[in-house]
Symmetry: C2
Subunit: 355 residues, 2 copies
């Protein structure tokens, strides 16, 4: 049974919120998120890993098993790509009711320059058998979730796993992966929500049928009732966030700016298509105007945007809204689901403008 809750946050949720963390929204100013500011969601514990002794096993429906060390991975062709990752649960605490889980507000996002080697040539080297349909990726982190004692494990359909841009990653922003981001090696599947990029990767299994592990069948499904099998969570929906302007109060984080021209800035992204439009409302959603959009850092990374706001004294609600190349825009309110996932509702920022 999924435990649902409304309103205040309990000790179990606080336990998660104290460990995991979002991007502080002012850090949207950095095109590449500095170390320690990228959002972080760890289901279980950061495992104690030894890069020198690490092996990634490739097995299952392959012609020959492979066992790759970190040096093996580093000696292969190397790609560096800016990629935006976002947690599928971003916005969960703004849905009501919500399941007891990580109570994200809106900052579960970040963009790093990821360095690694493409997965597809490794799978080709192992030799995919004709009956292969999926590839499962196992991490070293162990925990009990939904009553199941497990190592975190997720799968991809074969065609997704074979995409050129799917990497086994060993560096982030030009440094070896930090422990909390999957040291020494993680999966990177540009465009997909965060649960896909399995950290502390130990095993790659080629399967002749869809993987039925907990994180595929029970976790990360969009469903409105317990007995509904639901749809799998896959690619990131369009979202934009602004840097809340001015300065905050502590602890409430109300915002204050001086009247006059205020340059609003933010980022927008989608894992489904290019961001085509960002709009801003400075009157609580009554009217919308187009923001200027910067070039994307790369095909799977966010685009910066800006909007010159003539701030007049009063209490104002700012909003921003992104639209991607599929025509999908952020909703005012996202469709409710049991996991409170994919909540890409427009951001609302209340600001007191001082004369």
């Amino acid at each position: 049974m999924v435990e649902l809750r409304t309103g205040d946050v309990g000790l179990d949720e606080l336990n998660q919120a104290g460990r995991n963390h979002s991007l502080p929204l002012e850090a949207l100013r950095y095109p590449i998120t500095p170390a320690g500011l990228h959002y972080l969601l760890i289901h279980y514990d950061v495992p104690d890993t030894d890069p020198a002794a690490w092996r990634v096993e490739v097995d299952g429906h392959v012609a020959q098993r492979l066992s790759l060390s970190i040096d093996d991975l580093r000696s292969r062709p190397t790609v560096t790509m800016p990629v935006t990752l976002e947690c599928a649960g971003n916005g969960r605490a703004l849905m009501s009711p919500r399941p007891v889980s990580q109570p994200w507000l809106q900052g579960a996002v970040g963009t790093a320059a990821w360095t690694g080697t493409p997965l597809a040539p490794i799978l080709r080297e192992a030799g995919l058998r004709g009956d292969a349909v999926e590839v499962a990726f196992r991490g070293a982190d162990r925990g009990v979730e939904g009553g199941v004692d497990q190592r975190y494990e997720r799968s991809l359909p074969l065609d997704e796993a074979m995409r050129d841009e799917v990497l086994l990653v060993h560096e982030m922003n030009g440094q070896p992966l930090l422990p909390q981001h999957g040291s020494p090696v993680r999966l990177l599947v540009p465009g997909w929500y965060g649960m896909t990029h399995v950290k502390w990767l130990t095993r790659i299994r080629v399967l002749d049928q869809p993987f039925d592990g907990y994180q595929m069948i029970t976790g990360y499904r969009l469903r409105t009732e317990e007995d509904d099998p639901g749809e799998p969570v896959t690619r990131i929906r369009p979202r934009s966030l602004m840097i809340p302007p001015g300065w905050p109060s502590f602890p409430e984080r109300n915002r204050f700016v001086n009247a006059g021209e205020v340059m609003l800035r933010g980022r927008a992204w989608s894992g489904r298509a290019r961001i085509e439009r960002v709009e801003v409302s400075t009157d609580g959603g009554e009217s919308w105007q187009d923001a200027s959009i910067e070039d994307e850092l790369g095909p799977f990374a966010w685009r910066g945007w800006s909007f010159a706001w003539s701030a007049e004294p009063g209490d104002i609600e700012l909003r921003c809204r992104a639209t991607d190349g599929t025509g999908e825009s952020q909703p005012d309110e996202a469709a409710w689901n049991l996991g409170a996932m994919e909540n890409n509702a427009v951001q609302r920022v209340r600001v007191t403008v001082q004369a």
Copy 2:
């Protein structure tokens, strides 16, 4: 008026918990905390700083004002020191009632190798006037707290400011300071709670009377009633924390281990004296046994400890307790105060031991 709360965490506290973060306790395994795992508490926003244009002004009751660039600071004598920092509010959410603030559980700690230049020679170069009694340190971060629009600012008595180990720090773990840790320069006052180590340092003012800023007079005081001036929060009280053994559940973070010998490990620190003793209880505080203590990393850094536990099946409560060279031990329950600060009560970790 301080707003007090019991039980569940409200949206304002969640706003803080989602931005700030603790050390995930399994990261106590690292003697030097890797980037991004060190606890973080930011009162306002991470300011947008430009290291190339940065100046630290030294003024007030000095013979001559100084204006120091980051290159000036880097060209001065350099010291690297491992120092443990802890937030004065660590443990706040375990006190009841608590003020609305950052709702820390127990992990608001970290140890970095800090690199910088001693402050005392800079103050001597500026020439302290005979009437100097305190030094105030101002950060670039702006916010409204207790109704006061302020730049974060804290002071030290002159004799504390002149201690050899007080540094202006520009590197953390061999890298330039990260934005969230005070880039390009912060104060480091080994032994003191976290509020002292002013980040994004812009100004050092020598004063002829005690500084009466908000963070000295209203914030960071130990008081039990609003109209009590209270005692200032200064040096870190002794504390020990263990790495919760075994593996967790998600989202509750219950713990599970297999029966047999389990090596319990953790760290202990105090800003007041050397840690002299760490004790462990495996029966909920009924009896205590001494842990083995490792050498300290430095005079202001934590000491590792370990204890071999023969785990027998059942539900167990583990505890650990540190004593420092002043004879002060961690209490079972800490003295309540309005700010819920200095809560160094012994850690309790419930574990289910499986046969």
